[in-house]
């Protein structure tokens, strides 16, 4: 397994007759191992992610993920900013689900400061969170297809994203980083037409998703590429703290929205999708089914949308009293947790950000070992991760 260091450093082809003779005589007939870099500039890695793969022919002997190309040190930066500013900072962690990243911080503050959030704001938050989740999942639906060489789902997914994207843009003015949540509520009430647009978007997704799903899930080639490939064992998933669609694809029936409902998630009728086998197919299947569940939540939330204020009673200066709290939410990619330690200042004393992709990706070497190079791409694609979410 160890790479022959001398050979790796040696750039010239073998010319020495003695060495050739040695190779020919069979003393050295084993195939050479090659160190292959996948990333940071590789078409299949979303962002600057690097995988140092040792391959023998087409088989992966070892794979080490190398991260840190876009570490921004948010945990340090937040200590020099007040809570209002952090909202916009943390939404840049997982850039595909900006609004979901904002939530746990506000939940932390609302817990510590004992702020009551009005119902309308809570429902509104749920609508936006779930719409963002659909956006995120459709994105991975697209990219997983693209990685397996199916180009068409990409375009379909992007078309479906657009209507939802438009609704969010109407309300927040942003397409990726919304900055819409405030401690105690949301920034402002939504404009007229928002609900109609949002319903149009999610209903369209629900209506069309089955067809799109058939493009991949129903395809024989897709099944051959994904079933029984990259199996992640349930216990290993627990052990590494894997969460989100990846964990649920391994038969872990685990969703913060159901287990410990925050906001008003306990009032909606939705199911936690999970699949038992832990292979690429199951992970993808869970991801796709979750889009439908999210769409169902959005529909219910809009139907039951109460009227009233959108901001609770919040002091002028956001200043959390001294204390510690851990709040976790179900981000599209898994459990996002903020451990906030406050010493009573307007800035957090320490904010530990537990991002889903970090734990999810750390299990990769375990899953990749012994796989084929072609499967490696399928596995990387099925470990839905966002680089900003790993590196923070």
């Amino acid at each position: 397994m160890a790479i022959d260091q001398q050979r790796v450093g040696d750039r010239t082809p073998v010319h020495d007759p003695a060495e050739i003779a040695k190779i020919v005589s069979g003393a050295n007939l084993e195939t050479e191992q090659m160190v292959l870099n996948v990333g940071p500039q590789h078409p299949a890695t979303h962002g600057v992610f690097r995988l140092l793969a040792t391959i023998d022919g087409e088989v992966l002997v070892d794979a080490q993920p190398i991260i840190g190309y876009m570490h921004r040190g948010y945990e340090k930066l937040v200590e020099a900013r007040d809570y209002r500013q952090i909202t916009n900072l943390v939404s840049r962690m997982d850039w595909l689900s900006g609004i979901n990243n904002e939530l746990p911080l506000h939940l932390c503050l609302e817990k510590l400061m004992e702020i009551e959030v009005p119902e309308r704001a809570q429902y509104m938050r749920v609508v936006m969170l779930e719409m963002n989740r659909i956006l995120n999942h459709l994105m991975f639906f697209a990219s997983f297809g693209a990685e397996l060489g199916a180009i068409t789902p990409t375009f379909f997914a992007f078309r479906e994203r657009e209507d939802i994207q438009l609704a969010l843009e109407m309300a927040t003015g942003g397409r990726m980083h919304f900055g819409f949540f405030r401690p105690g509520g949301i920034r402002e009430d939504v404009p007229r037409g928002f609900f109609a647009q949002a319903l149009k978007g999610v209903r369209q997704v629900m209506a069309r998703l089955d067809q799109y799903e058939d493009l991949l899930v129903g395809n024989e080639i897709f099944k051959q590429r994904t079933i029984d490939v990259g199996v992640l064992d349930k216990e290993i998933a627990y052990n590494y703290g894997v969460s989100g669609p990846i964990a649920r694809g391994s038969g872990i029936d685990f969703d913060v929205r159901k287990d410990e409902p925050y906001l008003v998630y306990d009032r909606f009728d939705f199911e936690v999708q999970s699949a038992p086998n832990g292979d690429c197919f199951d992970r993808f299947w869970v991801l796709v089914r979750e889009v439908v569940e999210s769409a169902k939540i959005v529909e219910q939330a809009i139907e039951a949308m109460p009227s009233g204020p959108i901001m609770g009673k919040v002091p002028r200066v956001i200043q959390a009293p001294a204390g510690e709290v851990y709040v976790r939410t179900e981000n599209p990619l898994g459990e996002l947790g903020f451990y906030l330690i406050s010493d009573g200042d307007r800035r957090p004393y320490r904010l530990k950000i537990r991002t889903p992709s970090y734990n999810n990706v750390s299990v990769l070497p375990h899953v990749l070992k012994g796989q084929m190079v072609a499967d490696m791409i399928a596995i990387l694609g099925s470990f839905f991760f966002v680089l900003g979410d790993i590196d923070r």
Partner: protein, 122 residues
């Protein structure tokens, strides 16, 4: 003069030359208009954006070699097959039976290869 049986192949030869000249000429034309500023970074072998580790020439899995051998066997078969395909109608049943035996042997060989699992990639 490119006529008759031999002449046909002269045409083919000429076309090979024409194709070659076409590529060479376009590459030369491109040389006239394109920039040329080689730098060390540009001339480095591409390896996903970092300095390459080791060399690109390595002994690869022998698996490919077995496929190549199988190919040779079957391609030779194809060479036999074509002349036979034209005339077997006149030669009748005997030639047909001979070919059945020939293909049968090859099919057995393929079956053997499958049983020996050499067609499995891993």
């Amino acid at each position: 003069m490119p006529e008759g049986y031999f002449g046909q192949y002269v045409t083919i030869g000429i076309f090979a030359i024409v194709g070659t000249v076409l590529v060479a000429a376009t590459l030369q034309l491109s040389r006239l208009v394109r920039p040329n500023h080689p730098t060390t970074a540009k001339l480095t072998t591409y390896e996903s954006g970092i300095d390459p580790i080791g060399h690109g020439w390595s002994q690869s899995n022998v698996r490919y070699y077995i496929f190549a051998l199988l190919f040779v066997v079957f391609d030779v078969e194809a060479v036999f097959l074509f002349p036979w395909a034209i005339v077997f109608e006149e030669l009748g049943t005997a030639a047909f039976v001979e070919m059945v035996i020939f293909i049968g042997i090859l099919a057995l060989a393929l079956l053997y290869a499958v049983k020996k699992r050499v067609l499995e990639w891993l």
